[in-house]
């Protein structure tokens, strides 16, 4: 960057925009707690039978007898200090519970995102040609990829590859019977990872494929490609060295956004395969009406999505020399 000062301004500006966003997310959380039918206490304690004394303690702690503004302030203070409440079901502070499930989800999402991005861009570039015969098939396949409900795909894969063929285990992240360590443990996890990762990757693969392909078509119609061809370069070099770099820009910058998106949507895949991650935690707590965890998850996931967006924006500003800040 020749002049880095505008960039730092941009960086600071984006980070500053982040703060009111978090403020609003927490506020919305608060509003939901109070709009929902019933006594707000149960949303702060969970629905399992809380004794009257406990409820009174909660009431005092959250200041539920005080005016709403004071309550909002109290709630803010707690959240910003990392006190997301306490899960009745798991008997753990909410934040610690969420963080303990995070690695499993990141493993799943990371793998899926990796698969989706590499294969999506590769095939997107490869199929960037206007062949009328194949074009219908290509469109159909890519649309099919993101028309399929994720959990249905998961169920199908389960039926075919796990129940009928027995190649892959059906549930969980690790085998329960054998306690394995080291390399065998890793391979075991990988074996459990295959089906969920493929399931989750499909949707995004289809999207990335479409995006890459349309960008490639756009790029390939530009003049500098004609120049490259006139220079005598073969198809593969032009495709992968010259055209792809320009076309891949939106995909790469969207990585951050996609990550946040996948984090938020992991519930479905994790439920089908009983993968012990954050999404599954979401599901379990919805079933158990463990509201403190749900509220905490809401704030946490929103924050992660916002961070993902922020990273995407910054990355985009970094690598695209054309835009001005």
């Amino acid at each position: 960057m020749s002049n880095s000062k505008p960039f730092t301004f941009y960086l600071v500006r984006r980070v500053l925009q982040f703060i009111p966003l978090i403020f609003w997310v927490i506020a919305i959380n608060f509003v939901i707690i109070h709009l929902a039918p019933g006594d707000p206490v149960q949303y702060l304690t969970g629905e399992l039978e809380a004794t009257v004394e406990f409820q009174e303690t909660m009431r005092k702690e959250f200041g539920l007898d005080k005016p709403l503004i004071t309550q909002l302030g109290i709630y803010f203070g707690k959240v910003l200090r990392g006190d997301f409440g306490y899960s009745i079901r798991y008997q753990e502070p909410v934040l610690r519970l969420i963080l303990s499930r995070l690695p499993a989800t990141f493993l799943l999402i990371g793998t899926a995102l990796l698969l989706a991005t590499t294969f999506g861009t590769f095939f997107g570039a490869f199929f960037a040609r206007r062949a009328t015969i194949g074009e219908n098939a290509v469109t159909l396949l890519s649309l099919a990829g993101y028309s399929m409900p994720i959990f249905f795909l998961g169920q199908l894969l389960l039926i075919v590859f796990s129940f009928k063929c027995g190649w892959f285990p059906a549930q969980g992240m690790m085998s329960l019977r054998v306690r394995e360590t080291g390399l065998w443990a890793m391979l075991d996890v990988l074996r459990h990872l295959v089906l969920p990762a493929i399931t989750y990757a499909t949707y995004h693969l289809a999207l990335i494929f479409r995006l890459t392909r349309s960008k490639m078509l756009e790029t390939l119609s530009q003049d500098f490609i004609i120049t490259a061809r006139a220079k005598g370069l073969d198809r593969r070099t032009i495709l992968f060295r010259h055209a792809l770099r320009n076309a891949i820009l939106p995909v790469v910058t969207l990585l951050g956004v996609n990550m946040g998106f996948m984090l938020a949507g992991s519930v479905l895949t994790e439920t089908v395969f009983a993968w012990p991650g954050m999404g599954r935690l979401m599901y379990e707590c919805i079933m158990a009406r463990d509201y403190p965890v749900l509220m905490g998850l809401f704030i946490f996931v929103s924050m992660m999505v916002a961070v993902g967006n922020l990273l995407s924006d910054i990355f985009y500003a970094l690598i695209d020399p054309r835009i001005t800040y």
Binding site: P20, L21, W24, V25, I28, I32, A36, P37, R129, R130, N136, T139, L140, L143, A144, Y146, S147, M148, P149, I150, F151, F152, Q155, L156, L158, I159, F163, L217, E218, L220, S221, I225, I226, R229, R235, I238, L239, L263, A264, G265, V267, L268, T271, V272, M282, Y283, I286, M287, R289, L294, L297, F298, V301, S302, V305, A306, N309
Partner: protein, 292 residues
């Protein structure tokens, strides 16, 4: 499609001729039409009611008597798929309609008025981009109760920001066009300008967006039902997948058919939306010839 082919027909016929050229989109349209007919004729063609228990052995695999087999309570899967189509499609269309309605209104206000109102509304849409949509829907439905209308409202609340942004950006670009200036010079009121000049030109984008939104709404509803937040008093395809999960190992047919239903409907909607997009919103530069 040469320009001279299009000159002699009415706009409707031109539209149909252009749309017809896209074979995939055409087939998809017919699929949707067939689906609508099935939905309408369900009371007549369905062999059993959707909740009728014990018409056959539980977990009977597909046979001549029960083309799609039976589920764990001995209910005919085929009948449930037919009745479930109504609910799934209805929720999809209703939610998309609601969110399009509000999205267009808010986008119009935002695009036309500009300034502070615009800023504020854009902040709201940014907020919605950050909030995990599915999770919020899940939360709302679990808090306020799992019935059809809550689901429709929840999905509608989550989807309107996208439409609003789209409409707003269309407005911003159309506002500067010459026909708007001409209308203003003729003394047309703001409302008239919006309704007569701008909205008809933005309608292409709006229509495509709402078609795709129906597909999305159907997927959202299926997801909610799959996690157990569906309306238990009615049958929907997502609900059937939820019930199928526990007996997946021995009765694959309970999951396959409703899932295929969702898949095909959403695929058809996406294809139609794509086809409409190609016809209604042609890109300025199309790749005519490629050197590679």
């Amino acid at each position: 499609m040469q320009p001279r082919d299009l000159v002699f027909y009415s706009p409707w016929r031109n539209f149909w001729r252009s749309y017809r050229a896209n074979h995939l989109a055409l087939i998809a349209l017919y699929v949707l039409a067939g689906l609508s007919m099935i939905v309408v004729l369900t009371p007549l063609i369905s062999p059993h009611g959707p909740h009728r228990v014990g018409v056959g052995e539980p977990f009977a695999s597909p046979s001549f008597e029960f083309i799609m087999g039976t589920d764990k309570l001995g209910r005919d899967v085929f009948s449930r798929v037919l009745w479930g189509a109504r609910v799934s499609l209805f929720v999809g269309f209703a939610a998309a309609t609601a969110s399009t309605f509000f999205g267009v209104i808010i986008g119009t206000i935002s695009g036309f008025l500009g300034g502070r109102v615009d800023d504020m509304l854009m902040r709201v849409t940014e907020l919605f981009q950050v909030i995990p949509r599915f999770f919020l829907a899940l939360l709302l439905v679990s808090l306020f109760g799992a019935n059809i209308w809550n689901i429709i409202i929840a999905i509608g609340i989550l989807s309107w920001p996208v439409t609003a942004r789209l409409v707003r950006s269309e407005f911003l670009s159309l506002k500067k066009r010459q026909f708007v200036d001409a209308a203003k010079m003729q003394g047309a009121s703001s409302v008239a300008i919006i309704l007569i000049e701008i909205l008809p030109n933005a309608s292409g984008v709006i229509i495509v967006n709402s078609t795709l939104m129906v597909a999305q709404a159907m997927l959202l509803e299926a997801g909610l039902s799959y996690l157990g937040m569906g309306d238990p008093s009615t049958v929907s395809w997502g609900l059937m997948l939820y019930q199928a999960q526990s007996s997946l190992m021995r009765a694959w047919w309970i999951a396959l058919f409703p899932g295929l239903g969702i898949f095909l409907s959403v695929l058809a909607l996406n294809l139609v939306g794509d086809g409409l997009n190609d016809v209604l919103n042609p890109r300025a530069q199309d790749v005519k010839e490629m050197v590679l």
